[in-house]
């Protein structure tokens, strides 16, 4: 195989979208970490150690190393992803376990490994290894055949890293693994599971917002009406419908227990703030309030590059990492934000397209895993920034400052590109 053949078969539109997002992301990080007091030409006037104080400079280094990673990912034998899937998976489990034991808590989370000035978060990479392992396993089973053992193995495969990450107090990163359900759904998982999860979420939210008796009464009425309309059908599923009813009632009344005893205080606060951010705008509601102010003050076209006052003057917390989209919204306005959203939509659409054209179940499942993980990150991050979701600290793929996240998303994406480049050979296998 010569490089020229390989480069011809690389999906260039996806690479272009990747480069655009990483490039725009760097511009946003630069703006977010820009300080008017810094020298006009820092690259010429400052030494390396002084430059390392700037996020935009470190991000340049991460981008450079990501380029090396890309080369490695594309040069490696594409069959290795399939072959090494389980080994990588278990190695990662080991790493997560080790991290849990040796990591120093940083902001309440024991998930960072420190090598001198560099910090890495193994959980970021667990998404990749789990996606590989799940895809490998998926290729060996048929999800539709209702084989309980296979399904249990798949569930276990997914939940073990989740459990380890939860144990390290990285709820956000653990939440992202729910993305894999979308890939499983594509491969034949019952849609009921997605629906039940969605319904459960809605009911939990409603239980927090609406008086409980109304909710129970309303649900009972809906069920009774449905029963009367088609009594015959419902009689066949009497046990199912009654147990659903009981489950809903249980959830509604279990919410308080869940809210007060299962959730940690800071998680409880974040949900409270989502429901009523005006309750404590200077304290617990600060993040959401300031994030919305920064976004909302952008207007149609934004305040212009480096002119964002809210982000430049530190009103928005975590502005180059989790809240990076505030800079986008404030400086580039609605036009710029919508462009960025459009780029993500194009990326996701292109990944699905690439995934669908894989000849192997492994490749396709992995492609869906990549799309879903990116999608969940995108949704949770932007939802939080806009005050539509509780504050969950996960990065915006390619945009947020940080080596771990840039590397992990680069690996996710380019492993898919590597598989895609050789899909025709796969056919010959």
């Amino acid at each position: 195989m010569t490089p020229s053949r390989s480069s011809r078969s690389i999906d260039w539109p996806l690479v272009l979208l990747y480069l655009l997002l990483v490039g725009l992301g760097w511009v946003a990080v630069y703006a977010a970490s820009y300080s008017p007091e810094a020298p006009a030409n820092p690259l010429a006037s400052l030494g390396f150690s002084q430059l390392m104080a700037f996020n935009w400079f470190k991000q340049l280094l991460w981008m450079g190393t990501a380029a090396v990673l890309i080369v490695v990912l594309l040069v490696v034998d594409y069959k290795a992803y399939d072959t090494l899937a389980y080994i990588l998976y278990f190695a990662m489990l080991g790493l997560l376990l080790v991290t849990l034991v040796i990591a120093r808590p940083i902001a309440g989370s024991r998930s960072w490994l420190e090598f001198g000035p560099v910090r890495l978060q193994p959980a970021e990479f667990a998404k990749f290894t789990t996606a590989l392992a799940a895809s490998r396993f998926m290729a060996s089973i048929n999800l539709r055949q209702q084989n309980w053992r296979d399904q249990a193995v798949l569930a276990g495969l997914t939940l073990v890293p989740v459990a380890l990450i939860l144990a390290s107090n990285e709820t956000g990163q653990a939440l992202v693994f729910a993305a894999l359900l979308l890939a499983y759904f594509r491969e034949g998982m019952s849609p009921l599971i997605l629906l039940l999860l969605a319904a459960g979420g809605v009911i939990l939210l409603l239980a927090l917002l609406v008086p409980k008796l109304w909710l129970v009464g309303g649900f009972t009425v809906v069920l009774a009406v449905a029963f009367l309309l088609n009594a015959k059908l419902w009689r066949h599923h009497l046990i199912l419908s009654l147990s659903t009813w009981a489950a809903v009632i249980g959830m509604v009344f279990g919410v308080n227990f869940f809210f007060n005893h299962v959730l940690q205080p800071h998680q409880r606060q974040r949900i409270e703030m989502l429901i009523d951010p005006g309750k404590d705008p200077l304290g617990k509601g600060w993040n959401v309030t300031q994030s919305k102010i920064a976004l909302g003050s952008g207007g149609w076209l934004g305040k212009g590059f480096l002119n964002g006052t809210q982000t430049k003057f530190d009103f928005v917390p975590e502005q180059s990492t989790d809240f990076i989209f505030c800079t986008v919204g404030e400086e580039w306005g609605w036009a710029g934000s919508t462009l960025v959203i459009g780029l993500y939509m194009a990326l996701l659409w292109r990944i699905l397209l690439v995934a669908e054209r894989q000849k192997s179940v492994f490749g396709r499942t992995y492609g869906y895993c990549v799309a879903s993980v990116l999608f969940v990150h995108f949704t949770v991050n932007l939802g939080m920034t806009m005050g539509l979701m509780p504050v969950v600290g996960i990065p915006l793929p390619f945009f947020s400052y940080g080596g771990s996240s840039l590397w992990s998303f680069t690996i996710l994406l380019f492993a898919l590109l590597a598989l895609d480049a050789h899909r025709k050979q796969d056919l010959l296998r």
């Binding site: 759904f185 909302g296 699905l352 806009m386």
Partner: protein, 613 residues
Amino acid sequence: MQYLEGRRYVVLAIFLLVGVLFAGRLFYLQVLDDSYKVAADRNTLQRQVQIPYRGQIYDRHDSLLVTNTPVFDLVVVPREVKRLDSLRFCQLTQMPIEDLRLGLRAAKIYSRNRPSPLIQNLSTRELATIDDMLGDFPGFRIQARMARTYKTENLAHALGYVGSITPKLLESSKFAHYQPGDNVGISGLESYYESTLMGQRGVQYRLVNVRGVDKGPFHGGQYDTLSVAGQDLHLSIDASLQAYGEKLLAGRRGSIVALDPKTGEILCFVSAPHYEPQVLTGQGSGNRYMDLLRNPDRPLFDRPLMATYPPGSVFKLVNELVALQLGVVTPGTGFPCNQSLIHCTHRHEYPSNVNIAIKQSCNPYFYQVMRAAVLRGQSRNGFEDARLGLGQWQKMVKSFGLGEKLGVDMSQEKRGLIPSPDYYDKRLGYHRWNYKTVYSLSIGQGEIGITGLQMANVLATIANHGYYYAPHFVRGIGAVGQPLAQFRERHYTAIDTSLFKYVIPGMQAVVDGRGGTGEFASLAQYGISVAGKTGTVQNAHGPDHSTFAAFAPANNPKIAVAVFIENSGFGGTAAAPCAGLIMEHYLRGHVAPSRKRWENWIMYGDLTRRGHH
């Protein structure tokens, strides 16, 4: 697995749905809802107002009365306070530890990043000791600001005072650009000339970060404005005359107003009892204000503008002029001192003309003068005749600036009362009153009320033979050096200018004639002829008020003065010598030592004891 193919569209649909939802939410946040833009400015824009140097106030001889001096406050910025040794701090500042704790708490509530005053108006010695040690107390510093300082102990009523703007004032549109804590003229000239004295505030818009740290000008400072210092005021007040007047009435209640008839400039404006202007500034001014407010002699009451008294016999001059104008009497008209309805206070020669009548202040004479002016047979109905006559009388009297505000450059002026026919209709009923009901007006008693300033203005009008300039304190504003336009305009009365000469000889006789009622105001020993009129005002609140109004020199008037001394008996005994001293001081620049006895008499004498009206 063909049927699973369709699920790719379900996944794609979920992706797109979220994308559209987010774009829509952003459209609402960024484009439709403006409140976030306002909130963003509130976050980062800090409006810094530069208070201009307030205009100074000078007297007519350019001696400085009111200026600004820096005063020093000890302020604290809570965020910068580190490891406070409060015991040592309190020893240094002589501040009770409890005050320090309360002060720090209040400062934190106000702002963690902005300075709050802890001790205001440090004395020079406190400043020296504290300033040296402040290096040991991060977060505490000395801040200078300009405060009003008075170079005079007098004229408090006219000057008014400056204080922090009240929440009530802040609500009015006139003070829209003021901020809480700003100083504003509260009363007197400080209030009337607020916009002149205040100058123009400078505003700087600064960007601040989340910790309140300055991050440079907003938009390169293109919206910033520089402050412009306030303009000075040059008063027509003669500071030494003012001090002398306040000294004379120090132990009394009453007022002295002296005008320059040629210009309407106020030369002297005494409200007794008085207080010193600096009493209402600086630390403890609130308590001192309350003390003044509770004082039964009401020192805060601005008597020359706000106390309305019946003018008493002085008003006979106005009645005579009205009657002359109406042609119902001539200077040679005589009326018997017949005591028919109204008594005369003393026996005197027959008032065969107006000069004798004025000199003797003959009550029955002026009863008949006004009777002639009011009852002119304009209606066969006697009631209606009185109604019509009084209506014309009232209009002519008001043309002297009575019953209305004169428009002095101070806001507290009272209009007084010159009763109209309607006034009596309301009180007594239509056609239920006639001249016999209102005759007290003929000798300046009854339902009539005028202020000290109006009284002085009447005398200035007579001195001018029929016109006046609205009295005013400020003869020059800033570099322009002119009073306001309304003070350069002559006001003529309804009386022919040729008629005024008929009352002046009588007024001269009051002072300089043998047995005149105002002989104690005489300056004849200096060759100065004084024209005046005494008055003794009956009132319901104790002994009569003593009043005297005069101008001098009679042939070329340079000063018109009106004196009211409350509850001090006859006008000739108390008010007349006081007016004489004021005129002497102004015209000769000093009071001769031989006249000290009159000063003592006015300051310490039992005024109700002797003399005649």
